[in-house]
């Protein structure tokens, strides 16, 4: 076991090397140079900059900025324990010992290490408490739901699990802040109270704990649902296991069987999931910490990324990876201790595969090294290659996207025709389908339904509440509101102040589906007053109609999942089926790549890629495209893994062997024989994966890194409420409707996916 731990820790070295290299490359690719920014900033002491330039090799002897890899080299030299003088800015040559030096933070104006020392424990404790919270809730609930299967309790807890799975973490965080603001029971954010400094030790710890409660609950709830479902499914499986019957036949009491024999077995997959849950918690922490203003690692990395605080990002990401690896290691050790069948191998058996895994890293590092060489010796060539690659890439991606959507659309259509009867026969399925149809219709006809253009401001009516209606003179009238007093945030409706609604009336011209020119909208207000509006869902800070923005925003949020999953499916199918079909080295390389992608906390990768590839002068459409591409590039890994497994099981069936023996080529076999056999599983997996895309886009836009103003997207609309205490204190609940929209969409997809899974294969477990 000791050998096992050592080997695990050793494998950390290439991982850290690769990740740090990748991060610094991405930071270099992202527009803007941190050194220029630091020099331009008024509040940074030139002496500090000068010292940094020397110690971290930011400029060469002539005072010109050095290449990114030179900086990377210097950074490495600085964090190593043994230091070589000239590389760390010391005049004298020779080796010396010293603590790792991570550089200086430009934004916080302290050493990165000092910053990490404050932030890492905060996130670490938050992750631990929320895992602990999740386990304490999920295990008992899952067990009870399994024991009382199909009872009212089971139904209710399944419903709650659905809800918890479908609610975006940042929206939950907003709700929590809202709750805290209204009730005043909990602090609205932060890690400690203002007076914390003056408290005694005990009181201070209590104060920390008090501030930890809400973030813990918010962060934990997402994992509770997943864990609970795993627990329930496992428990039910093991309740019918033969060893349970054996114990029953011995005369053991039912209670003992459940809580000893079954529980000990059913809990193992949760322990395996522990490592992964750590990864997703780190992603979640980024959002939750941001919304709740909890000074942790996630918030730190996010802000550093935005402000190009290079050395904070590098160190933060490294610490994140280390925490992740330790989480995995811990869960492996725990599992080895809980499950006697698992022996932790430290010896030669896994050594070969470990070396192969390192090979993948070596290849990656080799590619980057090649890039460095080119940059040194032939910078113009590199630029040209980059340009050519970019255009070829854009063209390919465009074509691929169109092909993917067509193909997947066709498959979905044919499959759906077969399954639709089954879906409609189940009430849950029919309801989910109806909701989704409604949402997509809303998105399609958004320009016709929405009464106002999304950018039309109405500065005299900020935070207008939803309009009421009245029936007058045989026609529907909308009530009109006036501010209670100038500057007051509350509106009052004075009697008789109404305006009639006219249906299909003329307004400004627009294009339906981007093609058909139209002039009439579903409904308009007929009034002389230019500031009078009908606000179905209220207005935002600049008086824009939230209902209109919601509809237009749905075009982004709803299509992104669909297009993203199409690309993901095709990529996943190509990689997964080839890996499953050929096995051996192909399989090995593909699966290591998949594991690599899955082990990096998704949101951080998303952020890094996005800041590398989106420059500020992109148009909204371009941003939209790039986001889709990034999402699918990150997302294909899981799909590829599922498809590989399925291909593997089909690969040796007689009909595949027969096709092979007739000399059919591999692509033909994959498409004609393997695809039809896994298509329905893919449909299920895709349906359950779409929410991930919707949530990721929302999160990105919410952080201000996705779709940006004045365009609309659900995540972006929620951003207005973040940190905006007036929204909470004045109870402007309608500002939160985009969160509800996300929630409804996601839950509909989840329900539909589950119903489809039930029809395709009742025993299949996708999660």
């Amino acid at each position: 076991m000791f050998a096992f731990i050592i080997r695990r820790l050793l494998s950390l070295v290439p991982l850290l090397l690769g990740v740090s290299l990748l991060v610094s490359l991405l930071m270099y690719l992202s527009p803007g140079d941190f050194l220029t920014q630091a020099r331009a900033a008024k509040d940074i002491d030139p002496a500090v900059i000068e010292q940094q330039e020397r110690q971290l090799g930011l400029v060469n002897a002539d005072g010109e900025a050095t290449a990114w890899f030179v900086r990377y080299g210097h950074w490495m030299a600085n964090i190593s324990l043994v230091k070589y003088g000239p590389w760390v800015g010391q005049p004298e040559e020779g080796l010396s010992f010293g603590w790792p030096y991570f550089g200086e933070s430009w934004t916080y104006k302290v050493e990165v290490f000092t910053l990490l020392k404050q932030r890492v424990p905060a996130t670490f404790i938050l992750s631990l408490t929320s895992i602990f919270f999740a386990w304490c809730i999920a295990i008992p609930l899952g067990v009870l739901a399994a024991i009382y299967k199909d009872s009212i309790f089971d139904r209710i807890s399944a419903l709650l699990a659905y809800a918890a799975l479908s609610i975006p973490e940042f929206f939950l965080a907003i709700l929590a802040v809202y709750f805290a603001a209204i009730t005043g029971i909990f602090p609205e954010g932060g890690r400690s109270s203002v007076e914390s400094e003056f408290l005694g030790l005990g009181a201070r710890i209590l104060d920390y704990g008090y501030h930890l409660i809400l973030p813990t609950v918010v962060l934990g709830i997402g994992s509770v649902a997943g864990m609970m479902r795993i627990m329930r499914a496992n428990f039910i499986d093991y309740m019918q296991a033969e060893f349970a019957t054996t114990a029953r036949a011995k005369g053991v009491a039912e209670r003992v069987i459940m809580f000893k024999h079954v529980l000990r077995n059913a809990i193992n997959p949760l322990i395996t999931a522990f490592g992964y849950s750590f990864a997703s918690l780190l992603s979640g922490a980024l959002l939750v910490e941001n919304v709740m203003n909890y000074p942790g690692l996630g918030q730190l990395i996010y802000e550093a990324l935005i402000r190009e605080d290079q050395y904070v990002v590098m160190a933060g990401v490294l610490i994140g990876v280390v925490m992740l690896v330790f989480g995995n290691l811990f869960s492996d050790l725990l599992l080895g201790w809980m499950d006697p069948r698992i022996r932790l191998e430290g010896g030669a058996k896994n050594g070969a595969s470990g070396q192969k895994a390192n090979l993948v890293w070596l290849v990656l590092i080799g590619i980057i090294a090649l890039q460095i060489l080119l940059e040194v010796f032939a910078p113009s060539l590199l630029g040209m290659i980059g340009l050519i690659l970019k255009y070829i890439g854009l063209l390919l991606v465009g074509l691929l996207a169109v092909a993917c959507v067509l193909l997947v659309g066709y498959i979905v259509f044919t499959l759906f025709r077969r399954l639709i009867g089954g879906v409609l026969r189940r009430p849950m399925g029919a309801a989910a389908l109806a909701v989704l149809t409604l949402l997509y219709c809303g998105a399609l006809f958004a320009p016709a339904i929405s009464p106002y253009p999304i950018t039309e401001q109405n500065l005299v009516k900020p935070y207008h509440p939803p309009t009421g209606f009245a029936w007058k003179d045989g026609a529907l009238h909308a009530k009109l509101y006036q501010k209670e007093a100038v500057g007051s945030p509350t509106y009052i409706h004075s009697e008789d102040a109404t305006a009639p609604i006219v249906w299909f009336s003329k307004s400004e011209s627009y294009k339906l589906f981007g093609l058909i020119p139209m002039e009439r909208k579903l409904f308009q207000l007929e009034t002389e007053d230019p500031a009078a509006r009908v606000y179905l869902l209220g207005s935002d800070a600049t008086g824009r109609d939230i209902f209109s923005r919601l509809l237009h925003g749905s075009q982004v949020s709803l299509s992104i999942g669909f297009i993203g999953i199409s690309i993901t499916l095709i990529l996943g199918f190509i990689v997964g089926s080839l890996a499953g079909y050929y096995g051996g080295t192909v399989d090995f390389v593909a699966m290591r790549l998949v594991e690599l992608l899955m082990s990096i906390p998704g949101l951080y990768l998303l952020l890094a890629l996005r800041s590398a590839f989106i420059s500020p002068d992109f148009s909204p459409t371009q941003v939209y495209m790039v986001i889709i591409i990034i999402l699918s590039v990150i997302g294909w890994a899981g799909t590829a893994r599922i498809i590989r497994g399925m291909t593997l099981s089909i690969r040796n069936r007689p009909f595949v062997v027969a096709a092979e023996s007739m000399g059919q080529c591999v692509p033909m076999i994959l498409i004609k024989h393997i695809l039809p056999n896994i298509a329905s599983y893919l449909l299920v997996a895709a349906t359950l994966a779409i929410p991930g895309y919707i949530l990721a886009e929302a999160a990105l836009s919410f952080l201000g890194l996705g779709i940006s103003e004045p365009s609309a997207s659900w995540g972006l609309m929620l951003k207005q409420s973040q940190g905006n205490m007036i929204v909470f204190f004045m109870n402007f609940w309608w500002m939160l409707t985009p969160g509800l929209a996300i929630f409804v969409t996601v839950i509909a997809y989840n329900v539909l996916g589950d119903v489809l899974r039930d029809i395709v294969d009742p025993k299949m477990q996708t999660r």
């Binding site: 054996t246 011995k250 005369g251």
Partner: protein, 279 residues
């Protein structure tokens, strides 16, 4: 005469979402006291296992599965017992050895612990539980019993696992032992060892045995009475010799013809279908 076990008109049905599937259609049989051995034969899926599981309510609970009829164990109706009472019958009255030893043992507990659990439940008077477990392991012929006490199931071979199952059943000191195809998962040489072991133990401890099998070969010389089931019904019942000599039902004849006879060369092994079609 008072039987140890008397089953009359036993019917078992499974219910799924929209259909009901009766797998046992009213069977009657009995087991006398004093070490009688009854063999139940029948092809796969004929309802042997479910019939025996119903003896101590081990089948799924009513919405999924219903059992009707009467099962008298030592004069009391098992089907009407509550959870507490049935636990008194399980193990102490009727103990089981299941078909698949590898999945019938809990993988995360040591075999010693699993046997000790049975000892503690049914012989609370024994103080040295560990000693008793080792005794039992020796009884079923496991070498190095003291060392094996803390072994996990996956560290043992199939034959040893089955011995552990037998030891666990014996730890309860049952009146009636139900051995559900105790040798199917094992290879031929181990099969013979296990059957010999059961024979030995029956003589030593004087318990009755219900042996489920689809192999007439091992019934001969082991059981006193034989019951032949076919598609959920008993088609033939009687002393082993009389059934073997003069089978009435065509299915029984087919089964008997399937016994490979030593020293007799056959072109190919007959299957049940071909035998039944031939008659």
């Amino acid at each position: 005469m008072s039987d140890l076990l008397k089953v009359s008109d036993l019917r078992i049905a499974f219910h799924s979402r929209d259909e009901t599937n009766e797998v046992v259609h009213g069977i009657n049989f009995s087991v006398e006291t004093s070490g009688q051995t009854v063999a139940i034969l029948g092809e796969s899926g004929s309802g042997k296992s479910v019939s025996c599981m119903s003896l101590t309510q081990l089948l799924p609970k009513p919405p999924d599965c219903t059992v009707s009829g009467e099962i008298l164990f030592q004069g009391e109706n098992v089907l009407e017992m509550d959870a507490e009472a049935i636990r008194g019958v399980r193990g102490k009255g009727i103990a089981y050895i299941f078909q698949e030893p590898s999945s019938s043992l809990n993988p995360v507990f040591t075999i010693g612990y699993q046997i000790a659990e049975a000892v503690r439940l049914h012989r609370p008077d024994i103080e040295n539980v560990k000693g008793r477990v080792i005794e039992l392991l020796e009884l079923v012929g496991i070498r190095d019993a003291a060392k094996r006490y803390s072994a996990y199931p996956h560290e043992m071979s199939g034959g040893m696992q089955q011995r552990v199952m037998i030891a666990m059943a014996l730890a309860c000191e049952p009146e009636l032992l139900v051995a559900d195809e105790p040798t199917t998962a094992l290879d031929v040489t181990i099969q013979a060892q296990i059957m010999n072991l059961l024979r030995e133990l029956r003589e030593k401890l004087g318990m009755s045995i219900i042996l489920i099998t689809h192999n007439f070969g091992i019934v001969k010389g082991f059981a006193d009475e034989v019951i032949v089931m076919y598609r959920g019904e008993i088609v033939e019942q009687g002393a082993v010799e009389s059934v073997l000599e003069d089978p009435q039902h065509s299915y029984t004849k087919a089964l008997i013809a399937c016994i490979p006879k030593l020293g007799q060369k056959q072109k190919r092994l007959s299957t049940i279908e071909s035998e039944m079609a031939g008659r």
